[in-house]
Structures are given as C-alpha cells and as structure tokens.
C-alpha cells in the first residue's frame, strides 16, 4: 500500500463519484419568465435540446409559456417554425406578444409527416426554434428530435398530452402545465439539476 495515487488521477479516471452532477453551463436562452428561469439549471431553456411540454387540455397557457422566447428570437431576425399546430394561430394575438410574424413559418403536415418535418427543420440549422404537436411520438422518435436539435443548434418544443408523463422521455426538460385551481408549471425533469419541489405560478395573459 505504498503506492501514492494522486487524487487528480482518480478523478480523471472517473471511478470516483463526487456526489454532485456536472455543472450545467448557464445558457443563453431565457424563457422570459423570471420565476421559471430561477429554478431551471441552465437559467432558461436547455440550449440546443428538446423541451417537452405536457398539457391537461389545450389552451391552458402553453403558448404563453413560449411566446416571450419566440418574440425574442424573431426580433433577432431568427426563423421559427410551427409544425402542425392544433388550431389556427391568431396573428393579432401573437403580434401583441411581440412576435415578428414575418419570421414565423407554419407547416401543415399530415400525422405521419409531423416528425419528419420537425426533424428536417431542426437539423437544417437555419431555424432558431421549432414547435411541434406530434400525435404519436414514442421514445425513439423523441430521441431523434433531441439529436436533430443538437445537430442544428436549435430549440425544440414538443407539446403533448399529460398522459405521456408516466413514460420516460429523452427530453432535456419536461414541464407540466396545470390549470385548475390556478395556472402553474411543474418542472418534471430537468437535466443537470434537481427537480424543484413546488410549482411555479404562470400569470394570466389578461388581468
């Protein structure tokens, strides 16, 4: 037992668990909601990753959550693609939130082509964010989107029903929206940090 093993060698060999995860670099993609930014490990959306947003029912604030980000990106002359939205987007409402509609592309894709179109847009590298509403997305499909988001350095948002919460997901961030009694956001998974124990209130759009 004479051999002296330097501590750094042990650490470099990655055989010692240090009891805390790697530091997540503070990202450059704030959500626009200060309370949410404060609890997320990257200080905002995980960069170049897939974020999954789970809803009990449409119209509970899912767009309110992402529109500040879309407004910031489109005003910075970046393109945003919306793949097969469940309803017609109301231009006046989006513009009120500061989104530059000239930079927003809408894509009507059939059920089978939603994932293909989303992946193409993510992979291209010319879209800053891609929003998609896939009906049938399994674990493998989401993983493809995650890889495509990394390749194209884009933010991917997938909106799905809350019933998918029990299934594992490769998304870097999973948020669940809850409407009654009041609109709030639960962080269900966030890569590189502990999941906060309490919900974050989501202010209404009209007071």
């Amino acid at each position: 037992m004479n051999a002296v093993v330097p501590l750094s060698a042990l650490l470099d060999a990655r055989q010692v668990w240090r009891g805390r995860a790697h530091e997540v670099p503070v990202g450059d993609q704030p959500t626009g909601w200060c309370a949410l930014d404060a609890v997320l490990p990257a200080g905002g959306w995980p960069e170049a990753s897939l974020s999954e947003i789970l809803l009990p029912v449409d119209g509970v604030g899912e767009l309110r959550l992402v529109l500040p980000t879309l407004a910031r990106l489109t005003q910075g002359q970046r393109h945003v693609v919306i793949v097969s939205p469940p309803y017609a987007p109301c231009v006046a409402g989006w513009r009120q939130q500061g989104v530059d509609m000239r930079r927003v592309e809408f894509v009507d894709a059939g059920e089978k082509d939603v994932l293909w179109a989303t992946e193409q847009c993510l992979r291209s590298g010319s879209c800053a964010a891609v929003l998609a509403w896939p009906h049938h997305a399994d674990d493998r499909a989401l993983r493809r989107l995650q890889v495509a988001a990394v390749t194209g350095q884009a933010l991917a948002f997938v909106f799905r029903d809350r019933s998918h919460l029990s299934n594992a997901s490769p998304a870097a961030l999973r948020l669940e929206l809850e409407a009654p009694p009041r609109p709030q956001i639960w962080v269900r998974k966030c890569r590189g940090g502990a999941v906060p124990a309490h919900a974050i209130p989501l202010p209404r759009s009209v007071h």
């Binding site: 513009r95 809408f106 894509v107």
Partner: protein, 467 residues
C-alpha cells in the same frame, strides 16, 4: 480580339455516353440501311478493331457483340446548341462552327482572369458535363478552330505570332475550301505557311475568291462573318430512354443529368428557374406531367434535383416511360439571398428557403406558409397568408389560438375576465357580424375568447384560446 475555340470531336457519342455510361463496345452508325457505316466508336470498340468509316457488316464480322446506335443528327444539333448556351456564361459573343464552339474572350478576361485561368474554367465545365474537347485560343475565330484540329491547348495571344503558329499546319487540317485541300498537296504545297507565301493573284486565278477569303478570315484581314449564337428563352431538353422504364428509381439518373444541364444553362444565362415541367412520355403520345414549382427563383443543380426528385416520388407511373422531357418556360432573374457578415447560424446551415422547398416538395405546395394581419376586424377575416405585416397592432386582447369555427361553451358558468368588446361590421358584404367579445375562464381553467349576442351574457360561443 481573342477567340477561344472548343472543339468537340465526339459530340454525338458523348451525348449518348453521358446519359448511359457503358463499358462495353458502342458505335454510332449512319448511312442507308443496306450500307451502314460507323461514324463514331468508343474506346472499347476501337480497341477491338472497329474504326470510323468501317462498314457495319464488316464490324459485325470482326466483333460479335457490340451496341450499334443510329446517329441522330437532330440530337447532335441539340447538344451543340446546349453547349453553346453553357459557353455563353463566359462571353456574349458565341458562335457555332462545325463540331466546335467559338467565343470571343478578350473582354471576359477582366472578370474571369487571364487565359490560362479562363481555359481551366471552361475545361472544368465541359468535363463536368461529360463532353470531351480540345481547346485553343487565337486572335481570330477561324484560326482558333484550325489550331484545335492540330493540337490541344495551344494559345496564340497576339496577331504577330499568329502567322507563325499557322506556318506548320498541314493543308489537310487547314479547313480551307475542299477543292484547295484536294489540289494543293499535289502541287507540293503541304502546309498553310506555304499557301500564305504564294502570290494572291495566282491563287485567285486557280481556286477562285473563296480560298482567298478563307485565308483572310484565318489571318484576320477579313472579319469572321459568323452569326452570333443567342440562347433561347425556353429551356427544352429531351432524352430518349433506351429501355422502357417502369420503375421511378430508374428515372432518377437521367433526371439528375437533365437537371444538372438545366443548372448549367441557367448559370450561362445568369438566370434562375421558378417553375419547370418534367414530362414522362409513354407509348402512343400519352404522357404524364410532373410540375415542379419553387417559391423563389433558384439555379443550384443539387437543390433543383432534390425538389424534382421529391415531386417524382409522389407520381405513380400508369405505364412504362419511353422518354423524358424537361421544359422550363418561366426563367426569371436570379437574385442570390443576401447574408449577414456576422451571421449567427452554424456554418453548415441549410438556408431557410431550401428547408421550405424541401418541406413543400413532400407535403404539398400549400403546406408551408406565413401569416399576416388584414384590416378587417372580423376575426374570421383578420388574417391571411402573407409575407409582410403593416397593420398596426390590435389594442384589444386577442387570443393566440383561433378556432376554425366558433364552438358553444359546455360545462359550468364561466368567469368573465375582460370585455365586452363590440364587433359590428360587414353589413355591406353579406358577412354581417354583431357580437360582444369577452375574455372568460372556463371551468377547466382555460382562458377563452368567447362571444355572445349584444348585451346578453348567455349562449357563449368560444372563438379562441389564450393559450
């Protein structure tokens, strides 16, 4: 003046080989049906002992298995004109000579660089297209043409050295009138230099004025007198397939060639294409049209091919295809997209226009769009597909989702969060509406944009979600 000449010794053969590469022996035959002779042969065929001018029957006795394709004068002419259109990229003065193209390049060198550089570019273009060629440059078009028949790559840049360069050209290759070529060697005159040294009067008496005019055009004492080539305004390319094709995947290779040719033509014209048509020809004059439409004018070969393939994949072939035709009538100017010097996008990013085209190719022409506001206050007509937005921002609350048609509210009594906002308009065009809009919260906790009849707060119809 400096003329470049591109000599195309095997135009007919290359035109066939480029769309159907083959290793086996292949010859082109021409002439009356009972006396077919070989007019062109590929390397494998020549190595086997076939030669140009040989009777087809003699060739068949020599080699049992080779392909003989009839020489098609019309298709040779088409390729000739197509290559002139490609050369048009480098000069506005392009003329056609038998089996050759000449272009005036003295003014082009300011843009493309000195002759060696320009020669390199021209050669690269022709090699990419799959046409073998010989090239030369000289102060007159005809001299350049004569030099290409003697050697490849010769450049005579000034008129002082031109006579020198022509000195040793043999009479047989001088492209003088046929009677002179036949008669001069028997007089002991074997090179152009000797002809040029002869007294002009004697030549005129013996051979007529035509020989002197040819010599003067060669040395530049007479203008070349060539008709300038003008590229056509419509691109129309035909390819006859050698077999009946029943499977789309077998069409991919010829389509790739055709689209590349279109791209080369567009580069020569400095234009782009917005719409083109792929016509798949079947038996007895029937055909299937595959239109390819783009959002903006494009000219990149790889990109055009990708879109053409996307459209082609959706076509079901009703019967075998015998020939392909690519027609492009709509050839607007090409305006390359401006890019920011400090672009934040990753270096290998595909431009957004290309992404849109790719999505359109698979999902349909109307599947990718942008939305803009209109002046109409009725929610149903307040937006349309547009690329710009000059309407001021609406001061009243507007939802983020709009339902395609209003739905009655079900469930418990809603809570009114804001409103009413009266929308009353449209009595002049039959689409009259008179509604009070409110922002309400449903019993499920959704924020909705709903309306009811004026001054009533019952019979709620949901028209959008504040998602």
């Amino acid at each position: 003046m400096l003329w470049a000449c591109i000599n195309l010794p095997s135009l007919a053969l290359d035109g066939i080989l480029r769309r159907r590469p083959t290793e086996g022996p292949l010859v082109l035959v021409d002439g009356p049906i009972n006396a077919r002779t070989i007019v062109s042969a590929n390397e494998t065929a020549r190595a086997a002992g076939l030669y140009v001018g040989q009777r087809l029957s003699a060739a068949q006795a020599l080699l049992s298995n080779f392909e003989a394709i009839p020489y098609d004068r019309e298709s040779v002419d088409r390729w000739h004109r197509f290559l002139a259109a490609v050369a048009y990229r480098y000069s506005s003065e392009v003329s056609l000579l038998p089996h050759a193209i000449v272009l005036e390049v003295s003014k082009s060198m300011g843009l493309f660089g000195p002759w060696p550089r320009l020669e390199f570019l021209l050669r690269a273009d022709f090699t990419d297209l799959g046409f073998r060629h010989r090239m030369a440059a000289a102060p007159t078009a005809h001299a350049a043409h004569v030099l290409t028949t003697v050697s490849d790559g010769q450049a005579v840049l000034s008129s002082d050295t031109l006579r020198n360069a022509l000195q040793r050209v043999p009479i047989a290759k001088s492209r003088l009138p046929a009677n002179a070529i036949a008669a001069l060697p028997s007089m002991g005159i074997r090179t152009l230099g000797q002809v040029l040294a002869l007294p002009r009067d004697g030549l005129r008496r013996r051979f007529g004025a035509e020989l002197l005019a040819s010599l003067d055009r060669l040395t530049g004492d007479l203008p070349s007198g060539l008709a300038l080539y003008r590229p056509p305004d419509i691109f129309d390319l035909r390819i006859e397939l050698l077999h009946e094709v029943e499977n789309q995947s077998a069409l991919i290779f010829p389509v790739r060639r055709m689209v590349d040719d279109l791209a080369a033509y567009l580069a020569g014209r400095d234009g782009g294409v917005q719409r083109f048509l792929l016509r798949l020809k079947h038996r007895e004059g029937r055909f299937t049209d595959v239109p390819v439409g783009l959002l903006a004018s494009e000219r990149d070969g790889a990109m055009l091919f990708e879109f053409a393939r996307g459209r082609l994949e959706h076509v079901t072939l009703p019967e075998p295809v015998l020939a392909l035709r690519l027609i492009a009538r709509d050839l607007p100017a090409f305006v390359p997209a401006g890019r920011d010097l400090f672009d934040e996008q990753p270096a290998n990013a595909l431009p957004i226009e290309q992404v849109r085209e790719r999505l359109r190719a698979r999902l349909g022409d109307g599947a990718v769009y942008r939305l803009g506001s209109t002046q109409d206050p009725r929610p149903e007509r307040s937006q349309r597909e547009a690329t710009h937005d000059e309407v001021p921002i609406e001061p009243h609350p507007r939802p983020t989702w709009l339902l395609p048609r209003p739905l009655p509210l079900r469930g418990g009594e809603p809570i009114i969060l804001a409103g009413p906002e009266r929308v009353e308009t449209g009595w002049w065009d039959g689409g009259e509406v008179c509604r009070d809009y409110y922002v309400i919260e449903t019993s499920l906790g959704q924020e909705a944009w709903a309306f009811c009849a004026p001054d009533e707060q019952t019979g709620w119809m949901i028209h959008g979600w504040f998602a």
